[in-house]
Symmetry: C2
Subunit: 475 residues, 2 copies
């Protein structure tokens, strides 16, 4: 209760400061009272005031400098609130927009007291801040005489550096001309959707699979053909006609299986027969725990496969840096699409990544973050076994940064209730349900995708202990 009261005081402090800014009492550049003074004024703890200031800084009302008092951001007082614009009731949007808006909305962000087990987040402390700043600074020193639009496929040094990285790390043999630097793998998926699918075309999708890939293809008008996944990866017998197949052969997302050699062959034979392209998303190929590296599909069929890599799981999802390896005869189409889409990926960050790769810093960082995530994974698996025992079946733990936890004997209908109970216990838990394209063929038991890369080991242990209580209550 005390916590809630302080939260509501913080909200009132925030509102009061905004009012003083909009009313002109606090003017641009004015320093705010120290947190100590404001805490005394409101009769609350300094923590509460600091939280309020933090929120105002996050919203852009205040502006802080290390070691000094926060100041009011410039010009804010002057901006009037917009008059309500009457929404146009029958605004005509494109078919693309209609398909897009019909897709289910993503899960909203909450802040969880104990642990947020969302997959995809990384730990801020893992980011190689100093090394990345050094790379950025070094790249920015090599400033060009002219600032001009750069190559839509990506900067030459980065593509050369990626070429050798892909060879060393994944055994991919390609020319820099086959590489297209994109703003994270999502842009790679969107470019594939636009260049390879027309409305009404079938695309094959692992089921369960990566939701934002499915959405990118579906928004382009593609028709989802969900294909079941088992312990050998996507099932390849009797694949229907389609123009594109999206797969995660090195580590099926989310179930974690590795596509077997026989299925690889079958998938590539099917693609050759169907004239289809295979989009290979190697989203976490850097994380292998005790299994041998798996060569990408691209190595077996460079003319049939578009390979997709990213630094979202090794550096940060907020950098928005990824890359495609495309067959040589498709590189012009991808380059022109990238040019019309956004000219090119921001140059400074491309050059910083090139520096980081060429200096060997990236691979040193990967060794370090791989070790840390192996520790987190071990802590999660141990805690789940100790705390939950046979209540749970955990799958997909061999590689990557997540596992799938199945609640033995708990029917799928309880998934939402378990998520809600976990939320009340301060834990962010994410059901596997939305990852199935259709509910009909999914397993009967409730399952959850559990990401562990964002937390320290002790938080993971506390989260697992909290989950154990939640699971015990629903079992």
């Amino acid at each position: 209760m005390v916590q809630l009261e302080e939260q509501s005081v913080a909200r009132r402090i925030i509102a009061a400061i905004k009012q003083r800014i909009h009313g002109g009492e606090y003017r641009p550049g004015d320093r705010l009272p120290s947190s100590r003074a404001l805490a005394a004024e409101w009769g609350v703890s300094r923590t509460t005031v600091t939280a309020a200031y933090g929120q105002l800084i996050a919203e852009g009302y205040l502006f802080n400098r290390p070691g000094a008092r926060a100041v009011v951001a410039r010009g804010l007082a002057a901006a009037p609130a917009p008059k309500a614009v009457a929404p146009e009731s029958k605004r005509a949007l494109s078919d693309f927009a209609e398909r897009l808006l019909a897709l289910p909305a993503p899960a909203r962000f909450h802040t969880y007291r104990v642990a947020d087990l969302r997959y995809g987040d990384l730990n801020g402390a893992d980011f190689p801040l100093l090394a990345w700043r050094r790379a950025l600074n070094r790249a920015s020193l090599r400033r060009a005489e002219r600032l001009r639009y750069s190559d839509p496929q990506g900067s030459a040094p980065l593509r050369t550096a990626l070429q050798s990285y892909l060879w060393r790390a994944r055994g991919i043999v390609c020319a820099p001309e086959q590489i297209v630097v994109v703003n994270g793998s999502q842009q790679g998926l969107d470019l594939c959707a636009r260049l390879l699918l027309d409305p009404g075309d079938n695309f094959i999708m692992e089921d369960p699979g990566y939701v934002l890939a499915r959405h990118a293809f579906a928004a382009s008008g593609g028709m989802t053909v969900p294909v079941a996944v088992d312990r050998e990866g996507i099932r390849t017998e009797g694949l229907p006609q389609a123009r594109l197949a999206y797969v995660t052969p090195s580590h099926q997302y989310p179930l974690g299986s590795v596509l077997s050699a026989a299925r690889r062959r079958a998938l590539l034979d099917w693609a050759a027969e169907a004239g289809a392209m295979v989009v290979e998303d190697d989203y976490d190929g850097e994380y292998r725990h005790g299994v041998a590296p798996i060569p990408p599909l691209q190595v077996s069929a460079p003319e049939r496969v578009i390979y997709l890599g990213t630094v979202s799981k090794t550096l940060s999802p907020t950098l928005r840096l990824g890359y495609l390896v495309v067959p040589p005869d498709l590189s012009r189409a991808f380059a022109e699409a990238k040019r019309l889409t956004d000219r090119h990926t921001p140059l400074l960050e491309q050059e910083a990544l090139a520096e980081f790769l060429s200096s060997g810093g990236y691979e040193r960082h990967i060794r370090s973050i791989r070790r840390r995530n192996a520790e987190r994974r071990a802590a999660l698996l141990q805690a789940l076994v100790e705390e939950c025992g046979t209540r749970l079946t955990v799958t997909g733990a061999d590689t990557g940064l997540h596992v799938v936890a199945w609640l033995n004997g708990v029917p799928v209908e309880r998934e939402a209730a378990v998520v809600e109970a976990a939320r009340e216990a301060g834990i962010g838990l994410y059901p596997i349900g939305p990852l199935y394209a259709s509910g009909a063929k999914r397993p009967a038991e409730a399952g959850f995708v559990v990401g562990y890369a964002a937390h320290d080991v002790d938080v993971i242990r506390r989260g697992a202990a909290g989950l154990a209580k939640v699971f015990a209550a629903v079992a």
Copy 2:
């Protein structure tokens, strides 16, 4: 001839070093010989060796540290050349891809001896390197505990800072919820194309106009309706039915006219009648030379206009930062499209721009770069008058970073020959022809778009003198 010989020696040095790297003679991390030593070995000047090293660094073979000898980039020796992949002769691409590949290819980059008058390039010396690095460093210090995908519409501090900037600088009143941060204005155009146009829909395009806007709409399947431009901007009488109109009302690109008040009213009335959206590209609104600021169309009809802004003309085209202001009822569609397209714009650069805006540094920078570009513009106009006299008619010089130069009495058919003669004289000159959607309605005289923002004043003077000779020869 000497210059050519040195160039060919540089090429041979480059090839020799690549061979030594691929052959394993130079290994990753090895230091290369000093430029002095290599110059002696080859019997050439150090300049030639430095040029060769520069090229190898640009291609990513070498890696340099300030004040030290270049080293061989890591891992390069190991990467074998890819085997030739047989191109798939009948690769089926989407209709989007077919439309895209049918568009005319952009002009290739060349290096010009005297001056390159390409519009859109900025001078590297104008970039506020230290201030931007300070903003980047400050943004990177506020590192999050968790690295997670950010808001697809853009970071809250940046949108708040843009809201007040847009009010101060352009008189736009909007809520942060109406702002969508994009990777430069090209991505804004592409999102408009995807959300507002279906294949076969008409869109209205200023003629002449901005080619990459036309291409973005046409690649989405839109049908171009070119509408003539005169001294009051786009002609608004009898506008046909269309779903979208693309305009540059503050400074028509490329002719430079300002859309008159009567035409503004007529355009907005037409849009309301037609149920169409107006895309307002305010690509260089920061540059006004001796004319009063022109309020954007968005201010008059916030429910009908999508406003598009960019930092490509104030900071750098390589940063890829722009923003849309959309009507409130469209913000969800734009946010979801941005999410599926590439999740969000890179966070660090968004936060650096927010810092730069909030600290007042951005507007200080704009005052400085505006002054410098005013000097360049004055030098260009003076030199063109002095050197070319009545041979030329210059239009569109009131605002922006370019002018249009019409060659009096020289027929349009000679445009390509003039460009070629300028190239032989070491000058990059760009014809206006490609900016017309159809050749039929363009003026009979040869015209050129002349950008001046990338060069120092003395280079501009030399360029104008060189052009005068070229023009005299063709007249």
